[in-house]
């Protein structure tokens, strides 16, 4: 069987950044396995701009952003195979990939999981109604429009105000479709404020906050969507139904880390993130298997995906050098108004990067990191919204004991 120091599963922004950083640290025997015919991952279809401000200090389109990493990986001579899909990862780190050359089996010393995420579907939400054609997930519509030259519809309703949905509202409008509404069940948008501004407001697309899609009608093609106001008690407000005629419904209702391979490897997942439970080195519950990017937790910006993957490389490097990493026993818990925190386990002996999201929007507030009743760190925020990821570093000196660490929002 072939052996490799590191196998990286997925050649998107996380995988590419991890590879380049590992190589820079001196790891030579790296293989990236990518299922698409080209590297770059989902960014290939994200043709809008706004990527790279944090990482490169300029605004780029998705393909341009990923090309920088692709070029870097190529220049560094890192090996990557494309059009190859990993179909299994075993707990003892044998990676099996399906390729046109045959079934590739590689014994890896370390594995980096960078498979990204998938979209939540209509079926998962169990939205009532007919099953006509014309219902697309936002990312699928984006792929059809930006890669495959297929126009999904003319009269569009978008369910969910996630960023991809907002971006698609603008894309569809620019390409000649009419977007009549974006319907969001929550009382606040799920996407970033700048996308509300430049994708909806710029094109006079109304956003219905606090509305739930209660019925899908029409067959064989979708003809209309019925939405109703969600009251403060969570129940639908009688008589608040609005009918939205359309020929297409785009769903932008959330992303789920794609962890089927992680599960086959025996990696323990976090019920909140749906990604792996990791320590401060981004190591999962299986020693030598690491995860970063959207497969770990869904990020708001790709820049942070790249930065996280670069951070991960240090842990992988140390693991390869020492044959193991020290066990991390201190749990990090999500407290008041915190959706999740990465990492979930720390040693208390290292500076750590904390990534988290709030559950519901708040105005001026403080993120507080506590241990044994003591405040280790506070970060003041002018506002915090679920659409945005919050990141900050906590110094090793801050930790006082081996008791659990809790992160919370104080208003």
């Amino acid at each position: 069987m072939n052996t490799r120091e590191v196998v990286i599963v997925g050649g998107g922004p996380a995988g590419l950044a991890a590879a380049a950083e590992l190589k820079a640290l001196g790891v030579d025997d790296i293989l990236i396995i990518e299922r698409e015919k080209n590297l770059g991952g989902i960014l290939r279809q994200c043709i809008h701009d706004g990527f790279g401000l944090t990482r490169f200090g300029e605004t780029l389109s998705g393909p341009e952003y990923s090309q920088r990493f692709i070029d870097q990986v190529k220049e560094m001579g890192i090996e990557a195979i494309t059009n190859a899909t990993v179909i299994d990862i075993s707990p003892d780190k044998v990676v099996t990939a399906d390729t046109t050359e045959g079934l590739l089996k590689i014994q890896a010393k370390a594995i980096v999981l960078t498979m990204g995420c998938r979209e939540r579907t209509r079926g998962a939400l169990a939205i009532p109604g007919t099953r006509p054609s014309g219902i697309y997930n936002a990312g699928v519509a984006q792929s059809y429009m930006n890669l495959f030259n297929k126009m999904v519809g003319k009269n569009i309703v978008i369910m969910g105000s996630g960023d991809i949905g907002l971006i698609m509202a603008r894309r569809l409008t620019l390409e000649g479709a009419h977007v009549s509404a974006v319907i969001e069940i929550l009382p606040y948008p799920s996407g970033l404020p700048r996308n509300i501004e430049q994708c909806l407001h710029d094109y006079d697309i109304p956003l219905y906050l606090g509305y739930s899609v209660i019925d899908i009608q029409g067959e064989p093609r979708i003809e209309r969507v019925i939405a109703a106001k969600v009251g403060e008690n969570g129940k639908l407000v009688e008589g608040s139904e609005i009918e939205f005629p359309c020929d297409t419904l785009i769903l932008s209702v959330g992303l789920i880390p794609e962890n089927e391979l992680s599960l086959s490897a025996g990696v323990v997942l976090d019920d909140r993130t749906k990604g792996a439970v990791v320590d401060e080195n981004y190591q999962t519950s299986v020693p030598g298997i690491f995860a970063a990017g959207n497969v770990l937790h869904v990020h708001d910006l790709v820049d942070f995906v790249s930065l996280e993957a670069e951070d991960l490389a240090k842990g992988v490097f140390q693991y390869l050098r020492d044959g193991k990493l020290e066990e991390n026993e201190i749990p990090v818990c999500a407290g008041e108004n915190i959706g999740h925190v990465i990492p979930q386990k720390i040693s208390g002996k290292k500076d750590i990067q904390m990534s988290l999201r709030v559950r519901k929007p708040v105005g001026r507030c403080k993120v507080v990191v506590k241990q044994a009743g003591r405040e280790l760190k506070t970060v003041s925020m002018p506002k915090a919204i679920p659409a945005e990821m919050i990141q900050f570093r906590v110094k090793a000196e801050a930790f006082v004991s081996s008791e659990p660490v809790e992160v919370m929002i104080n208003e």
Binding site: I47, L53, S61, I70, N149, Q198, D300, L301
Partner: protein, 122 residues
């Protein structure tokens, strides 16, 4: 004097900026984390501009479309005129990031450039 709230679109911070203005002049401004916010608001008050990302047909590549964008923002009112020009373009692979597809589109001092590496496959 008018008051208006802007969501700054310059960077992902998306600052919510409160502005008091009169005749396109900023009188009072709060909520911006950086000076770019002031520039953004000034531009919005006098001459709002946006950039566009789209795609053009390409022959001889693995995919039928090649992504493009503008090099500089153009007046908001001209976005659809620019789209019409973009829609007319036909490329043949290979195409490279930065290739100028339309120079000075609609005379707006902005170029349409390729944003994806497209190899020739046939």
């Amino acid at each position: 004097m008018n008051r208006r709230t802007f969501s700054c679109i310059i960077c992902p911070n998306g600052c919510e900026i409160q502005v008091a203005h009169e005749n396109g002049q900023i009188i009072e401004i709060t909520g911006n984390k950086c000076p770019k916010g002031v520039d953004y608001v000034r531009q919005e008050l006098t001459d709002p501009r946006r950039t566009i990302a789209s795609s053009v047909r390409i022959a001889g590549a693995e995919l039928p479309l090649c992504s493009v964008r503008l090099t500089k923002p153009v007046p908001k009112k001209d976005l659809f005129a620019v789209m019409e020009e973009i829609n007319k373009v036909d490329l043949t692979a290979p195409a490279h990031i930065g290739d100028v597809v339309i120079k000075n589109v609609c005379g707006l001092d902005s170029d349409v450039i390729v944003t994806k590496e497209m190899e020739r496959i046939s």
